[in-house]
């Protein structure tokens, strides 16, 4: 009996030594849920089929992936990061991205000019932040940003607490300012406070709030709105008449210090190809960056889908990335102190 105990203990001590080591795979940092599933299905599988290298994913929110990257600086735990174009600037200023080698990204030649956000960031797809609501729970049609301030919407609205850029900019625009003179919209925003019933920190929470009907009107990413429709929730995406939806472009970057720069570039190049871009646009219902990608006719003119320079101008408000990145901490602080609390 004692002998058995001793053997069992020794065996148990040996187990820890069996380090959990990853196979030789490419690690991609991306948002969870629908985003990871789509990147995995559309780009990841194609990449593995082509190169034989498996793809793994590190999921999380925009800001906490940045925090993790900062801590792992110089010895990154991931090889590629998907992030929003303005938060990408925060990565750049921290020296976390490696410059892209355009020679290894031949497909980039087919992409729109706006896609190359900087020498470190290659846009993958575009969308807008707009108003998404449930017509079955909100009878009066919503057609403009200013409709959010309707008294009948008191206690019905939800918006993200991790990035207030969109609503801050819209409020500023309404007062004749813009993202640089954002203070002009402060009083407007405070007036909106009673209408907000919840703030969501993750996409999943936003979807929960919509599904349960707790927050039937939300400032939401167009892609997430379409995802809800796919799941069977009848929501309407608004193309606001007073001010355009606020554009977002998610970008791919290679981490500084990665040992798989070659594979990383191959992955990004694949993601920019006509075929993959067509698939991505269809799967996410987002705007492709490759001009040659085919977008189903049913999507033309839909919120977040831009096919011509004219469409970009009319239906998309693009916040200056640098201004946005610079102001984001101040925006978050003011927003948390004055609106969330």
């Amino acid at each position: 009996m004692l002998a058995r105990l001793v053997v069992a203990s020794l065996l148990a001590l040996c187990l820890p030594v069996a380090t959990a080591h990853a196979q030789n795979s490419l690690v991609v940092s991306v948002w969870g849920g629908n985003w990871k599933d789509t990147v995995d299905r559309v780009i990841g599988k194609a990449f593995t089929a082509k190169t034989g290298m498996p793809v793994e994913f590190e999921v999380g929110g925009t800001i906490d992936r940045l925090a993790k990257a900062r801590v792992a600086k110089g010895n990154p735990l991931v090889d590629i990061t998907f992030t929003t174009s303005h938060v990408g600037r925060l990565y750049i200023s921290d020296g976390l991205f490696a410059p892209l080698d355009m020679a290894r990204l031949p497909n980039a030649k087919e992409t729109a000019r706006e896609a190359l956000r900087s020498e470190y960031q290659m846009g993958g797809w575009s969308y807008v932040y707009t108003i998404v609501y449930r017509p079955d729970l909100v009878k009066e049609e919503i057609t403009k940003w200013s409709d959010l301030w309707r008294p009948s919407l008191k206690g019905k609205i939800a918006m993200p607490d991790f990035d207030p850029s969109h609503i801050i900019t819209i409020a500023a625009l309404m007062e004749g300012g813009n993202e640089t003179t954002w203070q002009k919209g402060q009083e407007r925003l405070k007036a909106l406070k009673p209408s907000i019933v919840a703030f969501y920190s993750t996409d999943a929470q936003s979807q929960d709030l919509m599904k349960t009907g707790q927050a039937p009107v939300q400032v939401m990413l167009s892609v997430n709105g379409y995802h809800l429709q796919e799941q069977g929730i009848a929501v309407k995406l608004v193309q606001p008449k007073d001010f355009p939806g606020v554009v977002g472009i998610d970008c791919m970057s290679v981490m500084a210090g990665t040992k798989k720069a070659d594979a990383a570039h191959q992955f990004i190049n694949l993601a920019l190809s006509k075929e993959i871009q067509t698939e991505l646009a269809k799967a996410l219902k987002a705007g492709p960056v490759n001009g040659g990608a085919t977008v189903p006719a049913a999507y033309h003119g839909q919120p977040g889908i831009f096919l011509t320079p004219a469409e970009w101008k009319e239906r998309a408000y693009s916040i200056n990335d640098e201004v946005r990145a610079k102001n984001l901490p101040a925006w978050r602080e003011w927003f948390t102190a004055n609106i969330v609390k």
């Binding site: 004692l2 148990a12 187990l15 380090t19 959990a20 990871k36």
Partner: protein, 258 residues
């Protein structure tokens, strides 16, 4: 009157379980109760989702390792407590049971700091060490209850008949302790399998155990997959607890019999 109140309260306690099981069979991604149909797609998702497969394997390794270490250590400690003077034993018992009062986040962050300093976070060793520390109090407590009820004259009788201390332990003490040790094993396994907070702090994507993987999933997805996984958990533990009560008389462990 009392009966009604008790029934209502029991309903409150079990309602969530019923809802989870029902929702797990819903054919669509919308969580609806009663379910709009019967589908096993979420169960299929549970079994085929790579991160759950990896997490289940990690859970198995970590729990097996932790229990294999905690059982002999805890049993030895219980025997040691029983043999000491009562006051000393009480003091040592307090020390041994102290991890129970520490908040999970405190232990979790502490282990994270130590693990990072020693560079051990990429292996499962920190997880196993933490689980041993967390599970040991339960083993000691359960074993001690059993040990205290041992009749010391039996061991002495064996000795007087010529048995060596080890023989006496193996042939007399251990078999008598078996029910208590089985209860200790049960507690250890269940506590380790469900351990979440501390593990959340020290897990990485590659080493995370099942509860941590479930938490990550809930935070990122809104489909009923976790309902399916929860149902599997619930069925499993109901079985174990029911069996334990039948064979180990759990009532005797918790209540005073008259």
């Amino acid at each position: 009157m009392l009966r009604l109140a008790v029934l209502a309260l029991l309903a409150f306690m079990t309602l969530p379980t019923v809802v989870v099981v029902a929702v797990s069979f819903n054919p669509t991604a919308i969580l609806s109760f009663p379910p709009t149909g019967l589908s096993l797609r979420w169960y299929v998702n549970v079994v085929t989702y790579p991160q759950f497969q990896r997490a289940a394997w990690n859970s198995l390794l970590v729990t097996a390792g932790a229990v294999a270490l905690a059982m002999p250590i805890g049993t030895a400690a219980a025997l040691g407590l029983a043999r000491g003077r009562p006051r000393a034993a009480s003091l040592w018992a307090t020390v041994l049971l102290s991890p129970l009062v520490v908040p999970g986040v405190a232990a979790g962050l502490g282990f994270l700091i130590v693990g990072a300093a020693l560079g051990l976070l990429r292996s499962r060793s920190v997880l196993i060490a933490a689980h041993v520390a967390l599970v040991l109090p339960f083993v000691v407590r359960s074993a001690w209850v059993s040990v205290r009820n041992l009749d010391p004259t039996l061991e002495r009788a064996a000795a007087s008949l010529g048995a060596t201390p080890w023989r006496a332990f193996r042939r007399v003490t251990l078999p008598l302790l078996r029910p208590g040790l089985l209860a200790a094993l049960l507690f250890a396994v269940i506590v380790s399998l469900n351990e979440f907070v501390v593990s959340l702090f020290i897990s990485t994507r590659l080493t995370e155990i099942l509860p941590v993987a479930m938490f990550t999933y809930v935070v990122n997805y809104t489909d009923p997959t976790i309902a399916a996984l929860s149902t599997l958990f619930i069925v499993g533990t109901f079985l174990i607890v029911w069996l334990a009560d039948r064979f180990l008389d759990l009532g005797g462990v918790f209540l005073h019999h008259r």
